[in-house]
Amino acid sequence: MTHASRLRRFGPPLIVLMIGVVFLLWAQIYPRNTGTVPTLVAILTIALGLLDLAGQSDTGFGRAVAKLVGRAAQEDEPEKAGWRVILLSVLWPLGYVGATIYAGFLLVTPLYIFLYMWTYGGKSLLASAVSATVTTVSIWLTFEVLFRYPLYPGVLFGGYL
């Protein structure tokens, strides 16, 4: 088993365990009424996380657990998409929201659509520009004009976080 595949198999249950432990400890600072149910669910999460961890191992018990309650199918799958593509696909919406917080929807939306389509989607300049314009105008007409919802102007233009 390679280091990467070991990480893919054992990483998620370890994160689940961590979440369970954090919530378990956190719940203890609250009064009894407030903390009881979160404590119970955190214990359940830890138990399930341990079971999942055991199910990832290649021991007899691990195989039995996997057989009874299922093992995630992603293990050792060949990467269909490269990590660069995955990372970019996640970063585009994050970047859009980050930029919107500063400059607002009306300024950032056309830029985001244009840049995404042109640089990442491989579309022509014209198609990207047309799509960016049409979408932004539609959003503006629908939300600001028709429904009278003011669009977020961005921190730079008087919006607040």
Binding site: P12, V16, I19, G70
Partner: protein, 501 residues
């Protein structure tokens, strides 16, 4: 009563009545299709416009909106995995996989027909049940609701097939997330990391939009190509086949309608809980539960029937007791008051005609919205064969603007993207999103019912097993949890004991 029904019908067939009904249907469809804003917003926006109208016409307008919103919301759920409103999220689970298989027409036909039939069943129940509804609702106390919530979670985890354990884990994490914010039982604020934004808990619409719309757009951005992998099938897939599927799976339809009406009638639960529980229940009675989440039309019929029938159900406490069953009904209560109608037992006696106008409008709007949807479906399906790189930025931008418009809070947009990334990571590492989402919705109900039950019984936890309905739900939950192990044992009876040993 007959006189009132005839009077309501006469309003429906007047040019003004029909015009307001059509207006309501069109507004409802538009608000349903636009992600993030739904029926509550539509009714709130139309409320001041209805001032000065004849109450019968106002009911036509509002009934039109109520009946059409959920039908509109199902279209985007099926075609781009983006629920128009939170109650449509359950339709994504099987509607979108059907669209990916080139069977969007089947899903849309099924959604539209089940919405209509569910809505009509809800209306019939509304008319029939008002006198006895109070006693039925009272049969379900906190222990039953607690068990109902747990059973829903267990049933959904089973539906994830080979990912049962990770389904349960996602459900547990969803429950933990649902505890964030103000706790009505203890009166304090929990797990907010000092953020004022999280005081009200994780807002559902941004979270659901993130989990479905944003996650799916990230996944499409990674995969490229088109949504439908079968472009030829998309063009010819029968919308009418979907309509017939509702009759083929009539038990699922009826069950969803009953669940929707019943849940709708219980104040505070609403369409989202109704459609998700109906999804879980549809899986329970299905002959092929393992295909749920992969494109089973029953997974569209159940939630959509519940989603529309809940309108009739939620009108029961709103009209009869003056208690709104949902946020939409709370706004609608305002409409009634605006028109000088005091909701409560006297409403039916003093304004029976107006009540039946509303009922007629609701029934007619279900049918009209469906007809419009079926007509435009053939063109809407084409969206599934568009290059995803054209769709992705437009859908992300529109969804996030819709999320912002809901409360005009940029925090909702940030949360939505965070849930989008979380959803994508869940896909990558084999954690089903469905159980997390359902737990997020049912968590508050489960915790509240848990504490209420223990308070009722002076801390005696046997209350969960000493009441007939509660015990039955518990047994069903155990059966759900045992099902995957039993199935595995049946598949490999010889090797299993050895492995366990």
């Amino acid at each position: 009563m007959i006189e009132s029904i005839l009077s309501a019908l006469s309003v429906l067939f007047t040019p003004t009545g029909a015009l307001f009904l059509m207006l309501g249907v069109v507004v409802g469809l538009v608000f349903g299709v636009v992600p993030g804003i739904g029926g509550t917003t539509a009714i709130a926006l139309l409320m001041p416009l209805s001032f000065g109208m004849d109450p019968n016409n106002a009911m036509m307008l509002m009934g039109g909106v109520m009946g059409a919103v959920s039908v509109g919301g199902s279209l985007t759920s099926i075609l781009i995995n983006t629920p128009g409103g939170a109650p449509n999220a359950a339709t994504c689970f099987d509607g979108y996989p059907l669209a990916q298989q080139g069977k969007a027409g089947l899903a849309i036909g099924a959604a539209a027909a089940s919405s209509t039939l569910g809505g009509l069943i809800g209306v019939v129940v509304l008319v029939a049940v008002i006198p006895v509804m109070k006693s039925i609702v009272l049969l379900f106390g906190p222990p039953e609701f607690f068990m109902l919530a747990l059973m829903g979670l267990a049933a959904i985890a089973v539906s994830t097939g080979g990912q049962f354990l990770r389904g349960l884990i996602a459900g547990a994490i969803g429950l933990l997330l649902s505890f964030i914010g103000y706790n009505a039982v203890g009166g304090g604020v929990r797990f907010t990391l000092g953020s004022d934004y999280l005081w009200d808990g994780i807002p559902l619409v941004p979270a659901l939009t993130g989990m479905f719309a944003i996650t799916e757009m990230i996944a499409l951005s990674v995969s490229g190509g088109t949504i439908s992998k079968d472009a030829a099938g998309t063009r010819i897939a029968g919308v009418m086949e979907g309509v017939w599927a509702c009759f083929k799976y009539w038990k699922t339809l009826l069950q969803g309608s009953v669940i929707g009406t019943f849940i709708g009638a219980i104040p505070g639960l609403g369409g989202t809980v109704a459609s998700f529980l109906s999804y879980a229940a549809a899986m329970q009675i299905s002959k092929s539960p393992e295909t749920f989440g992969k494109g089973n039309v029953e997974g569209v019929i159940g939630p959509e029937a519940a989603n529309n029938s809940k309108d009739g159900g939620s009108l029961i406490p709103t009209l009869a007791f003056g208690i709104p069953g949902s946020a939409e009904m709370a706004v609608f209560l305002g409409v009634l008051v605006l028109h000088g109608l005091s909701p409560g037992p006297m409403l039916l006696i003093q304004h029976e005609g107006v009540v039946f106008s509303l009922i007629m409008a609701l029934s007619a709007s279900c049918i009209i919205a469906t007809v419009i949807t079926l007509i435009i479906a053939r063109w809407m399906i084409l969206i599934t064969i568009v290059d995803v790189h054209l769709l992705v930025p437009a859908v992300i931008a529109t969804s996030l603007v819709g999320v912002y418009a809901l409360q005009e809070n940029i925090g909702d947009v940030i949360l939505s993207v965070v849930f989008g990334v979380l959803g994508y990571l869940m896909i990558r590492f084999g954690f089903p999103r469905i159980t997390l989402v359902i737990a997020l919705i049912l968590g508050e109900l489960a915790e509240r019912s848990f504490h209420q039950s223990l308070n009722m019984a002076d801390g005696d936890w046997t209350i969960f097993f000493s009441r007939g309905i509660s015990l039955t739900l518990f047994v069903i939950m155990l059966a759900c949890l045992a099902y995957p192990a039993l199935r595995a044992a049946r598949r490999n009876p010889k090797r299993l004991p050895e492995a366990v040993k």
